[in-house]
Symmetry: C2
Subunit: 321 residues, 2 copies
């Protein structure tokens, strides 16, 4: 008897991604001997067409974005990637070409980030493409970076640049000029800061990744650390195209501080560790910037402009509902 | 600043499900110290509205079915449940009542099966409800039941009864009479055979769970074990309502052998272990039946009727595409 088409699809596109423990994706489950003496780090993210990516985004980047948003969660904990499980719900309109591209993107990022697929499920849907990925990583026991360890008076830092993701989405929609495609590229292909995250273990007092807007996510860090924060908006690092956009749209810095899809690391550390942080960040070729500090308060985030005035923001970040 | 509604939903409905390592679902990832000296078992299943469940199925049973289909994969490997990660994509029409029921179902089955949530993601979708669950379990290293260990001449066994799932789906659609709701109950709430799976470690030579139709799934076991099988259709155990349906629909036994949603264990063992298998199954109060044997062949499954004639089957099982 012939196999249903989904088994052929799994054979052709997902089996080549299978690594140690995946049992060739041909059993009921994967088997994994955890690295001895390490603590496991586990996260799951979902991505839905028209919410997290656009229907005409290349399939290659969709698979990579899904993997990278999860890798960004590992980075935020200071973890080393180990493997992942993936479920894919596909509507009839997405044929083998789409799946071939999706898997090719995963294959490329598996090599880049040194992990492989452990298992998953491929099903049909009458709705938009719905993806879910669970990632596994590991850290030395008790060393994972957490959101709730920052103290009053400590510095706030962020990696890379903020605001490219939301501008990239607008560029993909034709609302923002993006002649070189650099903004769209940041929206489609975030850069998980794994090296930096691992370098911050034992140094940062709290860390998280910025996915739903810097101001909103900073609020989460403050809530977990039981403090407030002052964010110096002018210190927030912007990319060249984002800075150019801001010059043409003065007064719209808030859009960048509350847009999503940055996937940068936000972290706290005592002021006396600043030189060490700068050194470790340079060693892993990841720019970092000091953007504020922690103050007493009930998780209130105060955003100040160049002249010290409080900036009014219409919202703090992305909301699904 | 107020939190977006999804954080309130997570607080109210998912945080109470969080167990050890979940960090109250308030960090970027979960932290898990794997049980020392054990091998991890990992599986992921997706469920989509109108494909795996019906829009008017109770939310309570949808959450439980999702968890149980994954627990069934652990059962097939002989594993002990440990925890799970869950992603939920919800359309605007599914309000807090639905989510409250969904989480209440999960809470009940967490208690029943002794595991808890480790992490996840809640997002919006314009399409049907899309769910994905990744489950973790553990076994003694090297003891997991696999699909590929059965040998020619060995017996084939199945737990419980076959065909209730597909009849239950038809009952839910009004196509099959189901006055006591027992068939619909089996469709909505499968029984993962965790006790039996664990009892078969060291005894069964191959095992898997039956989810896409007995004949098709037996083909997978044969492919992995590099043999063929003869299935004695009259020996396949049927529930009282399924047997009653078959009496009214003579000649339709094939529907039951190729329908999905059984979530029973299919396994192989040498004939001389039959008494031991029966004893262990009885000890965990799970009925088992011998339904055939393994023969030389290239994964061909031959289904014979009561008189030994080959039964023609229109299909072997469920296909998504």
């Amino acid at each position: 008897m012939t196999l249903p088409p989904e088994f052929d699809l799994i054979d052709r596109y997902f089996r080549p991604l299978a690594g140690p423990g995946a049992l060739d994706l041909a059993d009921d489950a994967a088997l994994l001997r955890p690295p001895p003496g390490r603590e496991l780090v586990l996260a799951a993210d979902a991505m839905v067409e028209n919410v997290h990516f656009l229907p005409d985004d290349p399939a290659e980047t969709i698979g990579r974005k899904l993997l990278r948003t999860n890798l960004s969660d590992l980075a935020a904990m200071g973890a080393v990637p180990l493997g992942y499980l993936l479920t894919v719900a596909l509507p009839p309109g997405r044929g083998v070409d789409w799946l071939a591209g999706f898997a090719a993107g995963l294959a490329e990022d598996q090599r880049r980030f040194a992990l492989s697929i452990l298992g998953g499920d491929t099903v049909s849907t009458a709705g938009p493409v719905s993806l879910s990925l669970t990632i596994l990583g590991h850290v030395a026991p008790g060393t994972a970076l957490r959101r709730g360890g920052a103290g009053i008076g400590q510095d706030l830092w962020v990696s890379g640049s903020i605001g490219d993701g939301v501008l990239g989405l607008r560029a993909r929609r034709g609302e923002v000029a993006d002649p070189q495609g650099r903004l769209a590229g940041r929206y489609q292909l975030p850069q998980p800061r794994l090296g930096l995250g691992q370098a911050l273990v034992g140094l940062a007092t709290a860390a998280m990744d910025v996915s739903d807007g810097l101001v909103q996510d900073l609020g989460h860090l403050c809530r977990a650390s039981r403090c407030g924060a002052v964010l110096d908006a002018a210190a927030v690092p912007l990319s060249v195209p984002a800075a150019a956009w801001l010059r043409e749209h003065p007064g719209r810095l808030g859009d960048l501080l509350t847009g999503g899809d940055d996937y940068e690391l936000l972290f706290a550390a005592p002021p006396e560790r600043a030189a060490e942080i700068a050194g470790r960040a340079e060693a892993c070729a990841t720019p970092v910037a000091r953007i504020g500090h922690l103050v007493p308060g009930d998780s209130t985030v105060t955003v100040r402009d160049r002249s010290g005035r409080v900036m009014p923001l219409g919202r703090s970040g992305w909301s699904h509902f």
